[in-house]
């Protein structure tokens, strides 16, 4: 207990990777959902797969997508960012598709998935998360940092990366 509080200085420095700044928060939430979705699917598939196979397989799929997004956001290289954009897009499409499907055909989902009801069981975080993920990644494909990312910028500065985003 030498310092009672952090120095109240302003921290104006720009994040220099997808894992810093707001990305730090995003990755924390992604990691949480990666754990929640995959652990839940693992338990359900192992103990009562026959009860709601579609729901459990979709939960497992969601878990894989969250793990992929967490890892690629944390790595932050141009290739990883591309995979991150892809997994965030799949996640957004998944939550919209499964959300609609679960409302239209509740019989297929006797047990909920992470994406049921557009993620209503998880405070709609699954719906909001990919949007913020894509916004964060978009920022990186539009304005590559000169510091520490000079080698990446030539590859990534073009329009190609931007058009991937929905």
């Amino acid at each position: 207990m030498s310092e009672p509080a952090a120095p109240p200085e302003r921290t104006a420095s720009q994040p220099d990777s997808t894992r810093t700044g707001p990305g730090r928060l995003l990755i924390a939430i992604y990691a949480l959902f990666a754990l929640a979705a995959s652990a839940r699917a693992g338990v359900q598939i192992a103990t009562k797969f026959g009860h709601a196979p579609v729901a459990y397989l979709l939960s497992a799929f969601a878990g894989v997508v969250y793990i992929l997004a967490t890892v690629t956001l944390a790595v932050g290289s141009p290739a990883a960012r591309r995979i991150a954009v892809l997994s965030c897009s799949v996640e957004l499409a998944g939550v919209l598709a499964v959300g609609t499907w679960s409302l239209a055909d509740p019989a297929t989902f006797p047990d909920a998935t992470v994406w049921s009801g557009y993620g209503s069981g998880y405070g709609f975080v699954p719906l909001v998360l990919p949007v913020f993920g894509l916004l964060w990644l978009r920022r990186w494909t539009r304005r590559p940092r000169t510091r520490r990312t000079t080698t990446m910028s030539t590859e990534d500065a073009g329009e190609g990366g931007r058009r991937r985003n929905p």
Binding site: M1, E3, P4, A5, A6, P7, P8, R10, T11, S13, P15, T20, G21, P22, G23, R24, L25, I27, A28, I29, A31, L32, L35, A39, R40, V43, A46, T47
Partner: protein, 155 residues
């Protein structure tokens, strides 16, 4: 100065919340349900207070601080106490319907504040406290989930 005082006040609040916490440990094999609810309720309050405080730090553009880490430590202790209470119940022969899920929660629970502390400390900006806020909210939500998995765990 003002920030420091509010930090201390908040830590005091957390510590006061923590005081009734350890009591249920002594009720190991008894089924005194009225005492049983104290720890989860304390965790919910402490988690929400921590989240609010951490978000305030984010809003005020502050980095991780010692008071914030101390509060995370208090939350960690509370969660460990809760794990102990549930393990004692399981050792007493009681079983919930979703035993596998409950064990998963018991394993994951103590890692939440620790992981958040390390991940938040690695950040040198306002987004470090934001990670801590997530841990506080998750701790509160976990208690509600625990009650859903095993209703004998009162909230």
């Amino acid at each position: 100065m003002r920030a420091e005082r509010s930090d201390l006040a908040c830590r005091d609040r957390l510590l006061k919340c923590a005081l009734p916490g350890p009591a249920p440990v002594t009720t190991k094999r008894s089924n005194v349900s009225s005492v049983n609810g104290a720890v989860p309720t304390t965790i919910i309050v402490a988690g929400l207070v921590l989240a609010g405080y951490a978000l305030l730090m984010t809003a005020r553009n502050r980095r991780m601080s010692v008071p914030l880490l101390a509060a995370v430590g208090v939350l960690e202790i509370l969660l460990l106490v809760q794990v102990g209470v549930i393990v004692a119940r399981l050792a007493g022969g009681e079983r919930p319907a979703g035993l596998a899920t409950l064990i998963g929660y018991l394993i994951a629970m103590p890692f939440i504040p620790v992981a958040a502390a390390f991940w938040g400390l690695a950040e040198r900006s306002r987004w470090g406290p934001a990670v801590i806020a997530v841990a506080g909210l998750v701790a509160a939500v976990l208690m509600v989930r625990l009650h859903q998995i095993w209703p004998v765990i009162h909230v």
